[in-house]
Symmetry: C2
Subunit: 173 residues, 2 copies
């Protein structure tokens, strides 16, 4: 029997955190849920609290085995990098009270896995996510990026399994 | 009766997080505990986990009413700012599962409160913290900075109370 593996993808941001949940069963990816959390109200600590509490709730509700999160591009502006670092860390910390594995992918790895090129546009990602998960409409950009991070995990896992089944050396994640 | 107020000061860092606990009873500040958490082992997510879990444990053990944390200087290097943002956020998020108030002070406000000048050196802070809390020896720099953040809270609270008792308008924190 092929086991179902549930993956939560997260697209971190200081104002909007996208999330997307996918169930992988062998080669089949099934959409479960997606959405975005806005953290624009209150003090900076309040905004971190919103991200932390919301992601905690999402993890508690969907019980993923794996959380796939986009690593952030080091912005030239240190002030933005500091804010984004806080926000992304709040999303990661929200998974620490649950038994989940956290994996990080660069935006390039995610684009490569979903569109086939590391230079894909946001629209291409939305389109491919919609097509791969057989969604009725385009997901919102933040939700699409989060779903793409989850798809990237599924993609790399499948590659690893195929390599392993042929006795190729498996690259450690 | 004057109530005792327990304050946890935190000096955030991506490699070392300093902490210090002080009980304030009226004008009297009593040292309770201080120390530092090293987060230098493992992946970046592992290091955030160490900070988050350790600060959670400290908050659970000492049950502070207030957490005073130094806001960070926006480094010119966006890469360091990103790392420090993650680490600082992990320390802040660790307080969210407890009923505590989080207050933030700039390094300048803390130095001003402890030494009397916003341009104080690390050695001057260590010296003043030792003297104000009647410690036997110099606290380690990270612990001293954390204790200084807690002292800053006590200092500003006393100022507010004195202003309030004279019917001055109270500046909202």
């Amino acid at each position: 029997m092929i086991e179902r593996l549930r993956v939560l993808g997260i697209d971190p941001g200081s104002r909007i955190t996208g999330f997307g949940v996918i169930d992988f069963t062998g080669d089949v990816a099934a959409f479960v849920a997606s959405g975005a959390v806005a953290s624009t109200e209150g003090s900076f600590a309040d905004r971190l609290r919103i991200i932390f509490k919301s992601v905690s709730q999402i993890v508690a509700e969907y019980q993923p085995a794996v959380v796939a999160i986009e690593s952030v591009f080091v912005n030239r502006n240190a002030g933005s990098a500091l804010k984004l670092g806080h926000a992304r860390s709040a999303a990661i910390c929200a998974t620490f009270t649950h038994d989940v594995t956290v994996v990080e992918y660069s935006p390039r790895e995610i684009k490569q896995a979903v569109v086939g090129t590391g230079a894909a546009t946001k629209e291409q990602i939305q389109h491919m996510v919609k097509s791969m998960l057989k969604l009725d409409g385009d997901p919102a950009p933040d939700a699409a990026d989060a779903l793409a991070a989850a798809i990237c995990y599924g993609h790399q896992r499948r590659l690893r399994e195929r390599l392993a089944s042929r006795d190729f050396p498996v690259r450690r994640q």
